[in-house]
């Protein structure tokens, strides 16, 4: 005999109640209500045969394989327990009640009558188990509860913990600071954060963790819960956890990925690091003869520029090309973009020829270097230099032949004008 009771409230009583119950009876009522409810049971009548430790007749209340109470007798003794006005509450949403009578009854016993009702559970108040409690906010309702998260967090698929979206951080500056979310407050649970440092090839990233470092760990197992893993090129660092800062890590790579994983429990401060980029180093250059390098530094690293200039009267020569200055860059791999060019004295080159004219060098070796002087003159006596005056040109620092009167403009050989080829006839005596 017995019944499965699923209503939200109900009554149960011993067989034949309120008449005396029969011998050798065993009846079980299985009460179940929806999740989120507990069952409260209380007796309004109780009259069973008393026996030592209720070994004859009894009412046993159980839940989830656990005996909550065993009642028998008419009144409370050292060895017999009666329900009285005690209210029995099930730990969850099921409860079973079993009535049993043995083969004999010395007297007439009327049995029992009991009532039950389903009562909403306030999970937000009652759940102290960290594994079940809401991470941030808990909201109770009749028959259940739900969790929500603070602004900026996302409820994890476990519907309990609050994670963060944190995998879109790409750092491209040469220096920067990264930290776990909310540092130095506890970092979020159930999160996988990927931080990427992406610098130009030729740089190497160095990481420096702050002293305040706290990632949930385990005394015997290496970082089973939360951890940092660092991938730098082919090298991997970590997993890192615990409360000792890893200090400085030289990754040797320009591309670094930092994965920070947190599980669904624990309250730890987290971590913070600053990173710096170090360029590959180029050897110190020697300035060219009659020239200099700027800036002068004890060492040059990737991306450093050096400007090569020449002293007054000299010009930079690179691949036979004359330049005002020349720039060299320290490249990845520690090599310079070019060799140091040479400085050569300013050379104005061969002077431009003029029609019907010629150029005479004033110096001994037809030098066209800075300071050399030349003179223009006309080859044909029927031409004269125009404009007349000083036809001397000097090779100037600008690398051009320049005249004091005409600047860089050239003279020309113009025909001599207004001179008859014949003398006028002499006077004749009349």
């Amino acid at each position: 005999q017995g019944a499965n009771l699923t209503d939200m409230y109900g009554t149960l009583h011993s067989p034949n109640y309120p008449e005396s119950y029969e011998k050798e009876v065993e009846v079980t009522w299985n009460i179940s209500v929806p999740d989120g409810f507990q069952i409260k049971l209380y007796f309004i009548h109780f009259d069973l045969e008393p026996s030592y430790l209720c070994e004859y007749d009894y009412v046993k209340v159980e839940a989830e394989q656990e005996v909550l109470a065993t009642f028998c007798g008419r009144e409370e003794t050292d060895t017999e327990q009666v329900p009285g006005d005690q209210v029995i509450t099930s730990p969850r949403n099921v409860l079973s009640v079993t009535f049993r009578s043995d083969f004999s009854n010395e007297e007439r016993f009327s049995g029992f009558e009991a009532h039950y009702s389903a009562v909403d559970v306030d999970e937000c108040r009652d759940r102290n188990d960290e594994d079940l409690a809401c991470d941030h906010y808990c909201h109770n309702y009749i028959g259940g509860y739900y969790c929500s998260c603070r602004y900026g967090y996302v409820l994890h698929s476990d519907n309990r913990t609050c994670r963060v979206e944190c995998s879109d951080s790409v750092f491209t500056e040469r220096t920067g600071v990264l930290s776990s979310s909310d540092y130095p407050r506890s970092y979020p649970k159930s999160s996988d954060c990927l931080y990427r440092i992406e610098l130009e090839e030729g740089f190497q990233v160095n990481l420096e963790f702050d002293d305040t470092f706290d990632i949930e760990d385990h005394p015997e197992v290496t970082c089973p819960y939360d951890y940092i893993k660092i991938q730098a090129g082919q090298r991997e660092f970590g997993p890192l956890c615990g409360d000792r800062s890893p200090g400085r890590i030289q990754t040797g790579s320009n591309s670094v990925q930092i994965l920070f994983h947190s599980d669904n429990s624990g309250e730890n401060v987290g971590w913070r690091l600053s990173y710096t980029a170090v360029g590959s180093q180029c050897q110190v250059l020697q300035p060219p003869e009659n020239g200099q390098l700027e800036p002068v530094q004890p060492q040059y690293t990737f991306k450093d520029h050096v400007l090569v200039t020449c002293n007054h009267g000299y010009k930079v020569f690179k691949d036979d090309e004359e330049l005002e200055h020349y720039q060299i860059v320290c490249e990845k791999g520690g090599s310079w973009s070019s060799t140091v060019p040479t400085c050569k004295m300013v050379d104005c080159g061969a002077p431009e020829e003029i029609e019907n004219g010629t150029v005479t060098f004033e110096g001994p070796s037809n030098s066209t270097l800075l300071g050399s002087r030349i003179q223009y003159s006309c080859t044909n006596p029927l031409h004269h230099l125009y404009p007349s005056g000083n036809s001397t040109y000097t090779c100037t620092e600008a690398g051009v032949w320049t005249s004091e009167e005409l600047g860089t403009k050239l003279p020309s050989c113009q025909p001599v004008c207004g001179e008859p080829g014949q003398a006028f006839p002499a006077l004749q005596k009349r």
Partner: protein
């Protein structure tokens, strides 16, 4: 040239003979004038020498292919011995007025450069910025040409036909510059329509006898620079009154070259 003398070869090495044969207007379409060599490529002349003959006042230059330039020429009968050039370009002054010959000046660019020699040398131009009152009255200049030397023989055009009474050998004459007011009043008193502008000056003698004439047009009126001793083209033979050349009180009118230096320099410089 009326009342002049025969030149010896090389006396006027800048003197150029310009032969024009405008075949579209035969037989009137043949005439000649003079010019002055300015450089290996450029010849200075009067605009009316190279203006295509038209009845209206339009100014159209003769096509370059209808012009021949002779340099180093002495006797016109031996043109074949002279330097002979065709013409690449004719530049008439843009404000040349064929009704009164104001701005009667032109440039001719030769197709080929001329080799300079004792018989072919350029004439000087007035210095830029020369006072427009120059040349001074009564100073003497020389003009040469192959134009009419005997004005008693009649002609039928304002320019001489090369078949007319021209001189075979280059003639030249020495003429004094006439006071501008005298020149102006001389013409004004006789012909109301003739106007002496600031771009012209007169040269000649009150008593006549020596003058330029038909066929001398475009030739240079040269004056000796007292400082350099070089001969400078101060004028270009332009026009005269309807009387016979060399008549009394009929002065020849010349284009005042110094008024055109910017225009000339502009073209000469752009070419060089």
């Amino acid at each position: 040239i009326v009342g002049g003398r025969s030149a010896v070869p090389g006396l006027f090495p800048w003197q150029a003979l310009l032969m024009v044969e405008d075949v579209s207007r035969v037989p009137e379409g043949r005439w000649f004038g003079s010019g002055a060599l300015l450089s290996e490529s450029w010849v200075l002349t009067a605009a009316h020498v190279l203006r295509s003959h038209r009845r209206d006042a339009s100014v159209v230059p003769v096509s370059p292919e209808h012009i021949r330039v002779y340099l180093g020429l002495h006797d016109i009968r031996t043109k074949h011995l002279a330097v002979n050039r065709t013409v690449e370009r004719v530049l008439l002054h843009p404000r040349f007025d064929p009704r009164n010959y104001n701005n009667d000046i032109a440039l001719v660019k030769l197709s080929q450069r001329v080799d300079l020699s004792g018989l072919a040398l350029p004439v000087c131009l007035p210095p830029p910025g020369q006072d427009s009152s120059l040349p001074l009255p009564n100073t003497l200049g020389l003009v040469a040409g192959w134009g009419i030397s005997n004005p008693n023989v009649s002609t039928d055009d304002t320019t001489a036909s090369d078949l007319g009474d021209r001189s075979d050998v280059l003639q030249y004459v020495k003429l004094p510059v006439v006071d501008q007011e005298e020149c102006r009043s001389s013409y004004a008193s006789r012909y109301r329509k003739y106007n002496i502008t600031e771009n012209m000056f007169c040269a000649g003698y009150y008593e006549g006898g020596r003058d330029t004439c038909l066929g001398d047009s475009g030739g240079a009126f040269v004056m000796e620079d007292p400082h350099t001793g070089r001969w400078v083209a101060q004028g270009l033979v332009s026009w005269g009154g309807p009387e016979k050349c060399g008549s009394q009180r009929v002065y020849g009118v010349y284009t005042r070259v110094s008024n055109y230096m910017p225009w000339l320099q502009n073209h000469l410089d752009s070419d060089s």
